[in-house]
Symmetry: C2
Subunit: 379 residues, 2 copies
């Protein structure tokens, strides 16, 4: 991966397109607006951010990090005296279809997803909220199953539910059950992790195989008569992140974990693009290093999907200083959720804001953000 | 209101029924489970609490209050040293139908509702999350209108959006737009407000007229061809609560505001019942003291509704020490959201867990919790 890469005219065109301001031209919401890909970014940046703008929302992280205590609550972000606590705060709604699938259900997903969004800031997740929108006629036995999953997932991730809400809508006004979970965690004062902190030379670490969750959901919908052993990878990643922070503290006094993100909707390709744009760097990954299960590979071929764009619910991508990459991967492999961790690429200077992949044939192709609606209601 | 009240056999029967453990016997979710009344309490206490139980969730408040900082995050609730901050945290989903109505829309409701749930713990609301579930085909111009409302409501309540989420579901799998807002606020260390703190002798203060929001929504559905001037009362109550806390601090060194709740789904009747049960007291209110707009009274008669059970979105009920009640009401009347504040009843000993109303005819009738589905999708 040490060769120099000269940006082609195509790369330069993509780069220019990226710098254009997002504008919403659509008249109606489409499924693509929920895909995690380009249309969603346009909706978020062109509309939600336009109206609901705040300094924290602008960062477009998967969680807000702010200080409370001391003078922090009078002047958010300004306080730095004694008694200041740094909190991470996030929200996600879950509308996955079907609600039960191999490896999990909407309840487990709702807990793990929010735990992971907190963990990706380096936070220790503490408290969750749970808000339910139920469709009239939904089976209470199914609700019990979902709640059991939520209880077990919360126990596993060591978080507590502290507040909640229930709404019921008429039959046909929702689909069985939608769950929103928000969460609060505590971030140690020295931790500074952000999609904007990738540095040239950083190694790109992926914690395991790609595509398990999204492929499972597609198969569970029964649109194809595929018999497979594939399961969702839904898992709480806070223990893995705790191990990584511990390893970073062990090998270095400076912060060496720069970016952490879980590649959910839009897949690893979209996550890497977000980091490349936010940090204004070029990220190059290598196809032959990316782990994908054989069954997932096979199913994706039949389904016409690219595992790079398929949602994961128990994987993370970390960008770390090159000097700690090796020991970090070794440490991650000791955690049950990092057994297949490995370096899959690195960060370079140009062309900024771009992700590309060295293919098996020795070529290099641009890995763009997801365009269109690859998989609606995947989480 | 000074006469002695002897519990009749009916009162005693209601009291015994109250003490039974909630059990879910239903097989399917019905609209009543979302009404805010008895069926919802059974669902929450018999099922959600059973699975998602935590010390804070058990309190069944509209928000969780906990400490962070110091040693608080290692042993929640235990820390009391320097640098501890008390936070309030709440969540609510909004599914109101129609999404636009006289006096507001789903966006304004979603901001004010969560601001108010925080304020009812005495907290100063700071940060909100916003999570959207959009139906494919929803008009982007309508989304703009909703976002404008949210922006304006947040500015008015002096809160910031700091994190968010967007999901899209297929046409027919949701109804236009559902919004979840969660929120975080800071509670001053001396404030201790809870539905379980009502004390015998306390005065019951209502901040204004009852029934405006629920009646507005019913009329806006167009089920009746009524032409009225009625508007939703949706409003942020944090400035009113700040004034009340200030007044309490001015007149007394002890905490004299015992309970604060906003009577939303299930109306004032349900809120007062929650307080009576939680504090194990008898609450007696006087019909002739309860303010209801003439148009609301008229519309409720036609719609077959009792304003005591109709949702409000800009009102609060406070239970305060008798010695501060008069000055508290005077202070509340200086705030635009407390112009019609008044004492409507008081707290007595027996029969515990019961709310009753002295009627215009001099009789006393039990005011039970809402039973059944008075108004689905009111918020």
């Amino acid at each position: 991966m040490a060769e120099t890469f000269t940006p082609s005219p195509l790369f330069q065109r993509v780069e220019r397109a990226r710098r254009r301001k997002h504008k919403i031209r659509d008249e109606y919401i489409t499924l693509a607006h929920g895909s995690g890909g380009r249309a969603m970014h346009e909706l978020v940046e062109g509309l939600f951010l336009e109206y609901l703008r705040s300094p924290m929302l602008e960062l477009l992280e998967d969680q807000a990090v702010f200080e409370v205590g001391g003078d922090a609550q009078s002047a958010p972000g300004a306080g730095n005296g004694g008694g200041v606590t740094r909190l991470a705060y996030t929200t996600d709604s879950y509308v996955v279809d079907p609600i039960f699938f191999p490896g999990g259900d909407i309840g487990r997903l709702a807990v793990n997803g929010t735990v992971n969004d907190l963990a990706m800031s380096g936070a220790r997740p503490l408290y969750l909220s749970a808000a339910f929108i139920l469709e009239e006629g939904f089976r209470i036995d199914d609700l019990r199953r979902v709640l059991e999953s939520m209880r077990d997932a919360a126990a596993k991730a060591a978080v507590q539910f502290v507040t909640g809400d229930t709404k019921v809508v008429q039959r046909g006004s929702a689909d069985k059950i939608f769950i929103n979970t928000s969460g609060i965690g505590v971030v140690e004062s020295h931790v500074r992790i952000s999609a904007s902190r990738a540095a040239v030379g950083d190694k790109v670490i992926l914690s395991g195989t790609l595509g398990d969750h999204g492929t499972t959901i597609m198969i569970a919908r029964g649109e194809l008569e595929l018999e497979t052993e594939i399961e969702s990878d839904t898992a709480p990643l806070n223990s893995l992140v705790a191990d990584m922070l511990d390893e970073a503290a062990r090998v270095s006094t400076v912060e060496t974990i720069h970016c952490l993100r879980d590649p959910t909707r839009g897949g690893a390709a979209t996550t890497l693009n977000e980091i490349a744009v936010s940090s204004e760097v070029y990220i190059e990954i290598r196809e032959d290093l990316i782990p994908v299960r054989e069954e997932v590979k096979g199913a994706c071929e039949i389904l016409g999907l690219d595992p790079l764009y398929v949602a994961n619910e128990g994987k993370l991508i970390a960008l770390v200083s090159p000097d700690v990459a090796e020991s970090m991967v070794a440490r991650m492999r000791q955690n049950p959720y990092g057994l297949n961790a490995r370096v899959i690429g690195e960060v370079k200077v140009e062309p900024r804001g771009i992700v590309a992949m060295r293919t098996g044939f020795g070529g290099t192709r641009i890995v763009d953000m997801l365009v269109g609606e690859q998989l609606p209601r995947i989480c």
